[in-house]
């Protein structure tokens, strides 16, 4: 019989709750309170997440975010700024010692990305891993991923782009050189794609989630059993949301 992991479908939540839930699962799993967990979620309102090492004010036009009703949050993972709107976001939490997870960090990125790629394949999209942390189809990015390792536990989360709005994204992000902004936007439009663009039709969040569930099960040879957050995880998430992710101290720490 295949190993059973937990699947959480937490639906849409705001940026602070979303990042707090991923961290709560990491802590709960590190205390051996919950099985390895795969989670699918979305963002409402839309939000920008920045990498742990990025400077908030250097990356984000905060006034534009307020104007457009877009939240912003600092992740516990490194990597770059992401505009989360029409996408499915996954996370996976699993012990570093689990035999399915390569000790080598880059190899473990590739392994988890393998699950996303198999999920995309179920939708009819062939893709490949593009180190360090992207998945591309026909050379264009369709997924970005970021991993942290804390408490002997791996947390990797990433995006699966269902649709993309580069113009809105750039109205929210700062660029190092305003003079070349138009060229940068044109470049990014060439380099990024989405499920909708690949298939020429809208695919629902539910369909993408179904495909990704299959992808994770196939890659890791496990059964994903739908579950819910434990009370302890929900309390931890509330605590992380209030004490860090929603605070100025956390979000502006760099």
């Amino acid at each position: 019989m295949s190993e059973q992991w937990r699947l959480l479908q937490t639906g849409y939540a705001n940026a602070f709750a979303n990042m707090a839930i991923d961290k709560a699962i990491l802590v709960a799993h590190s205390n051996e309170k919950v099985p390895p967990t795969v989670r699918f979620y979305g963002w409402a309102p839309p939000a920008i997440s920045i990498g742990y090492f990025q400077s908030l004010v250097e990356e984000i036009d905060i006034n534009a975010c307020h104007r457009l009703g877009v939240d912003y949050v600092r992740r516990i993972t490194g990597g770059g700024a992401v505009f989360h709107e029409k996408e499915l976001t996954y996370s996976i939490v699993i012990a570093e010692s689990h035999p399915t997870i390569p000790k080598n960090i880059l190899k473990s990125y590739a392994r988890v990305c393998g699950a996303v790629m198999k999920g995309l394949q179920q939708l009819g999209i062939s893709s490949e891993y593009a180190p360090i942390n992207d998945i591309v189809t026909d050379g264009r990015k369709i997924s970005g991923n970021a991993q942290t390792r804390k408490l002997k536990t791996v947390l990797q989360h990433g995006t699966v782009l269902m649709d993309v709005d580069v113009d809105t994204m750039f109205s929210l992000l700062k660029v190092p050189n305003e003079k070349i902004k138009d060229k940068l936007i044109a470049d990014v439009k060439q380099r990024v794609t989405s499920i909708r663009h690949c298939l020429g039709k809208e695919v629902s969040f539910k369909q993408v989630a179904g495909a990704m569930k299959g992808g994770f099960e196939e890659e890791f040879h496990v059964d994903l059993i739908e579950g819910v957050l434990t009370d302890e995880e929900r309390n931890l998430a509330k605590q992380f949301e209030n004490e860090s992710f929603s605070t100025k101290e956390w979000n502006q720490r760099r």
Partner: protein, 97 residues
Amino acid sequence: MSHMQSRSIYKVPQGKLLKITLDYDETKNVITNIRITGDFFVYPEEALEHLEKKLKNICLERKELQEQISSVISKYHIEFIGLNAESLAQGIMMCVS
């Protein structure tokens, strides 16, 4: 004392975008404060703050910087992805060139 502040943006070859804000004493040629930001990965993440602290009062010479960075990397068992000691030294030196 002559305090200066300078910034650099450096695309690490085959890596990520490194942004440095450097405060330094021009007379003594030493770092007084440094903030290292960007879209790279550091494991464990908290180690980057140790590195920033350990670069204070270090001389703005490429060789010395690289040695100090390497020694902090090995002391704290830091793993960089999309960044390395050489590129960090490069980004810092770009602030003063």
